[in-house]
């Protein structure tokens, strides 16, 4: 399967860490990973990165929006992962990003949760780890489940 993922979030170390771990997980899972960044409009503006995870010769990729902080304003997608739809409370410390990352691992089963879990364990990030694990184990919203079942 190929994935075209639009990552949106506020510039900061949490975004950096989560995004890099997801990219590394995809690389470890033998996806060909390409990323493309959009211009940032202000120092606190949201960062938008298009990522292409290529795993097969199939032409049409599965479109996913990973909106860590509800900043996406573009055309709606069936798979729009953001804290409000995934029932993740916003946290000032940005740990809700880890919950969204957990849900992404649910959508892309090839992404190794072990890779991210070991990073969180190594760095003693217990709160982040529990939120991440919770969302890798929780089912996705019904609408998304139906869509994923439909496209196979």
């Amino acid at each position: 399967m190929n994935y075209h993922i639009i990552f949106c979030g506020l510039l900061g170390t949490t975004f950096d860490t989560v995004f890099k771990l997801i990219l590394e997980s995809a690389r470890e899972a033998d996806y060909l990973v390409k990323t493309y960044a959009m211009p940032v409009k202000s120092a606190y503006s949201s960062l938008i990165i298009d990522a292409m995870f290529q795993g097969s010769a199939k032409k049409e990729p599965l479109e996913i929006v990973v909106d860590f902080d509800c900043v996406y304003n573009g055309e709606p997608r069936e798979l729009h992962l953001h804290p409000l739809t995934l029932d993740i409370p916003f946290e000032d410390s940005m740990i809700h990003y880890w919950g969204v990352a957990g849900s992404l691992c649910k959508v892309i089963p090839d992404l190794s949760t072990a890779y991210i879990t070991s990073y969180l364990l190594e760095n003693d990030m217990s709160k982040e780890l529990s939120l991440f694990k919770k969302h890798t184990l929780t089912s996705l919203p019904f609408k998304m489940q139906d869509y994923l079942a439909k496209i196979g």
Partner: protein, 406 residues
């Protein structure tokens, strides 16, 4: 090192001046043998007169409008680590300043490049002083630099899509005004180029005027639109200015280069000198100018209309200082900070029971007016404040209709 205000990289400079003056200062230093670098949105027009004794790199985010010096183009972050040593070498060899144009993709994208990774604590996309220092000395590169400018092969040019801003399209790595023959030969067979509207002027200059190619250039390539909400910095002084009633009847000019404010507010771009020229003609409409205090100071006596200075240095304020949340009407004043030194005050909090804009079916006025990244809408249709981001400017509190923010 000079960094223009609002340059989209976390690099701190040690020269404070208007871009034109800063460029002269950098060139002067390079002429006497100091290594210099400048980060500009657009490099001011200049003609190199004296040979430089040391390297001079001029980084910019916009394509040049004239090509008098060697120009390197960086489209991806991976290119950066090889391109800067090359640019330095060219600057030393030619005794000319060298321009390096950075694409948005090279500024904000992620990379596995080891040099960039080791040189900074903060992971990509930010590039800081250490990165620039690490890349500064070409000797730090382990492999031998093979800058073979005559052997450049531009096979990709055959597809005739040529764009700096579209990642899939071809764009040359460099243009040297003194060595154009190879590039002319490369594009010999191409009759039509496709590019984006943004680059049309540059390609016309390069392909038609410099390379003298008889080619057709169309602007059919499309730039990808950024699908994110435009957010301003917490405490952005422009939110307070545009929350005033006077703003609707005044033409507001600014020299601050921030794409977000131009997208969100009805602003016109002008330098202090351009504004001084305009108001000398005594326009019939009310005008206002917002700019950094250091830019305004030399022209203070020439400016008419309303002048709002942003205090960007410790120097004595030109006009009376007014707190951002006390700015109620247009008058000559100094706001206590600029984009580069936004001050933090007491953080605000939202009384959830009073917050009712969204519950009544309208947009959250505070979010709409301030575009502050610290404000978010929760699942209960109530605005919440991210205390980590809040600067305490209180612009949201001033515009909140039910006074739920305090």
């Amino acid at each position: 090192m000079y960094v223009e205000d609002n340059f989209p990289l976390a690099v701190k400079g040690n020269v404070r001046a208007a871009p034109r003056a800063a460029l002269d200062y950098l060139l002067g230093n390079a002429e006497v043998g100091s290594k210099v670098a400048g980060f500009f949105h657009t490099v001011p027009s200049f003609t190199p007169l004296k040979p430089l004794r040391s390297a001079c790199l001029l980084f910019s985010t916009e394509l040049p409008v004239e090509i008098k010096i060697p120009v390197f183009f960086c489209k991806t972050p991976e290119q950066l680590s090889s391109l800067i040593p090359k640019a330095l070498k060219v600057s030393v060899d030619t005794q000319l300043p060298v321009q390096v144009v950075l694409a948005p993709n090279s500024l904000n994208n992620y990379t596995n490049d080891k040099i960039l990774e080791e040189a900074q604590d903060r992971v990509q996309p930010y590039i800081n002083r250490q990165v620039v220092d690490a890349l500064w000395d070409p000797a730090q590169k382990k492999e031998k630099l093979e800058v073979s400018f005559t052997a450049q092969r531009e096979q990709e040019a055959a597809n005739a899509d040529i764009s700096f801003f579209v990642p899939e399209a071809y764009f040359p790595e460099y243009i040297f005004p003194s060595a154009l023959k190879n590039q002319r030969d490369t594009f010999k067979g191409v009759k039509k180029f496709h590019t984006t509207k943004k680059e049309l002027q540059f390609l016309h200059l390069w392909l038609k005027e410099m390379l003298e190619l008889k080619v057709e250039i169309d602007s059919s390539l499309e730039l990808r639109e950024n699908p994110a909400k435009t957010l301003l910095c917490p405490g952005c002084p422009f939110t307070a200015v545009f929350a005033c009633k006077d703003a609707s009847s005044t033409i507001v000019f600014t020299s601050i280069k921030c794409p977000a404010i131009f997208e969100h507010f009805a602003l016109s771009a002008a330098t202090v000198m351009e504004y001084a020229g305009m108001v000398s003609q005594k326009p019939s409409v009310a005008t206002a100018f917002i700019g950094n205090m250091s830019d305004i100071l030399p022209y203070e006596n020439l400016l008419g209309g309303t002048v709002i200075a942003l205090q960007d240095s410790e120097k004595k304020a030109v006009y009376p200082v007014v707190a951002v949340n006390k700015f109620k009407k247009f008058m000559n004043c100094t706001l206590p900070y600029s984009c580069a030194n936004i001050k933090k005050g007491k953080k605000v909090a939202v009384k959830a029971k009073k917050c009712n804009c969204v519950k009544l079916g309208t947009e959250a006025v505070c979010m709409q007016a301030s575009r502050c990244p610290a404000l978010r809408l929760t699942e209960d249709d109530v605005v919440s404040v991210n205390a980590a981001l809040c600067s305490g400017c209180r612009v949201c509190a001033n515009v909140c209709p039910p006074k739920a923010i305090s």
